[in-house]
Amino acid sequence: MSTLLTRPVARRWQTLFQDVTRALVLVVVGGLALTMFVTGTAQLVREATETKNLSLEDIFPSPRAIAGAWQAHQDLLLQQHIPQTLWETLAGLSIALVLGLVIAALMDFSTVLRWILYPILVVSQTIPIFAIAILLILIFGFGTGPKIMVVVLFCFFPIALNTFAGLQGADPELISLLRAMGASSFQTWTKARLPAAMPSFFSGLRIAATYSVVGAIFGEYITAQYGLGVYLKRSYSSFRLDQAYLAILLTALLSMLLVLLVNLVERLTLRWYYTARRASWRGPGIY
């Protein structure tokens, strides 16, 4: 009899305890974030207002100088550097796309794999390039390999995490229905989870596309003979700011084009998504 009386009470206490803990954690974390936001902003404002003479001329080259640099090195850039960087970018992004999807699938597939992969993913994003540069060089030599790998490293992470979140976010009732219809795990995955994850996947791909060109530039910092990164580094080191900013401009341009391409493909692939949202969808294009 005593169990009959005590159990519910224990349960009630447990619930209360959970609620309190929950509230506590959220308040503490929220408070911390708020404090950090306020003090951080205050710090920025304080330091910025302390600045005396902020004269920016001759830190940035004039647009004319940049245009001049373009004219001077047009051939070099169009024939050597840009194609090289573009090839590294696209190869890396494509590999990252596949890798990201595979990792997301694995993490979605098994809890054990998730426990193993999660730390690896996080670590892969926190290791500075130089720490693995030697490995890349040892494995791939001084060819395109290291650069492609850096692009992959930059890009697979947002794809993997976002796709994983998307897979996990699939409507559980839909999944149940498919299971009731006798779908195998694999079928549930391809027919329900994956399509449901697509909007989230594209959001990750968009982030990845933004990073991809930068990744290639970064990879070229490890070692390269050609590419926008090489051009940038050489120019900056010999104080040719006009050329350096030209390189940055071209990088941004390429990134922008890639992002627009992703948006276009998204629009065309997720027709159902945009059809449903058409009424509330403001503005045309692939933006």
Binding site: H73, A133, I134, I137, I222, R234, S237, S238, Q243
Partner: protein, 332 residues
């Protein structure tokens, strides 16, 4: 060409014959930084076929994000351009590398200020200034303090700020700090070209105070020296010829570099090549000559300032064995 050989021999210990690799060998050289006038000899040797004559296929590899020592030891590249200070750290860490040649005979770096803002003439004038460092405060402050001390000023009176990636001179012009340590041949010349009036304390001029050290140097791994001495000799000697040419014909050497790396600023390369021509060999008996005193002196300096726990074996740190020609070792 014969006349050239004659003229260049004076920088090469009199040599006119040079080592060749036993068989055609492909080797990679990693640079320490973006191609610049410190690397003139390599590009010349490549362009004028000196490497080819030495039976070598050389790839000049632009810098990596890595310490050159690591790359060389890993075997990914056979040769590398480094600095004596980093090589010393690496040796203290028992990294199996060895220095093959001093690319520039003396330390051509120096501390500069903007003449208009903080004129300095002697080390003591630096006291009280704000120094914009590149992130190795122990070494940097040790050198600065020593300079102050030698000139009778109070050490520890220079304030250190880390400037990291940022370009120093524009920041000095905006009064973010006063003093910076530069390679005169590159940053100093560039400022001159831009008409910025710099005051410089060159370390060359205070060798009795802060010991001299080689910067940059050519290094390889123990493995190479032990297993392929022919390749090492062939490479070092062909490189020496390249630098000899750069000493004799700085203008032409500059053009060769610009041909290979068109992104560089032509005026800067020419002016810098001109300036360096006198510095590559300087007062040494031949290009590349190193001495045990320099290696020992600098190691001692680091130990004295607590930067290293233990000194290195200076004898084992370098070798002149692969340089071309012969010289009276005591003359160095």
């Amino acid at each position: 060409r014969a006349q050239d050989d004659e003229e260049l021999a004076q920088y090469l210990g009199g040599a006119t014959e040079f080592a060749r690799a036993d068989e055609r060998t492909a080797v990679t050289l990693v640079l320490d930084w973006v191609p610049n006038t410190n690397h003139l000899g390599f590009y010349v040797a490549q362009a004028l076929g000196y490497y080819d004559e030495a039976n070598l296929d050389v790839t000049v590899q632009e810098p990596t994000d890595l310490q050159v020592e690591t790359v060389v030891v890993s075997g990914a590249a056979e040769f590398g351009v480094s600095y004596q200070e980093v090589a010393t750290y690496a040796l203290a860490d028992e990294t199996p590398i060895i220095s093959l040649a001093a690319i520039i005979q003396h330390n051509t770096s120096g501390f500069v200020t903007l003449h208009d803002q903080d004129p300095i003439e002697r080390p003591a004038d630096m006291a009280g200034l704000v120094y914009g460092g590149f992130g190795q405060p122990e070494l940097e402050l040790a050198v600065l303090d020593r300079l102050l001390e030698c000139d009778g000023a109070e050490p520890g009176t220079i304030e250190y700020v880390d400037v990291g990636y940022a370009d120093a001179i524009p920041l000095m012009e905006r009064d973010r700090f006063d003093l910076v340590w530069i390679y005169y041949a590159w940053t100093g010349i560039e400022a001159e070209l831009r008409g910025v009036d710099l005051d410089a304390i060159m370390l060359m001029d205070y060798l009795d105070c802060v010991p001299d050290y080689y910067t940059p140097i050519l290094i390889t791994s123990h493995t190479m020296v032990e297993e392929h001495p022919d390749v090492v000799a062939a490479f070092v000697q062909a490189t020496a010829r390249g630098f000899a040419y750069a000493i004799a014909y700085p203008n032409e050497a500059a053009d060769i570099l610009l041909e290979a790396v068109p992104e560089l600023d032509a005026d800067l390369v020419h002016a810098s090549a001109e300036w360096l021509a006198a510095q590559f060999m300087a007062d040494a008996p031949r290009w590349g000559q190193q001495s045990v005193e320099v290696w020992q002196g600098f190691s001692d300096f680091l130990v004295e300032h607590g930067i290293l726990d233990e000194g290195i074996d200076a004898e084992a740190a370098f070798t002149n064995e692969f340089l071309p020609g012969t010289v009276d070792e005591d003359a160095g």
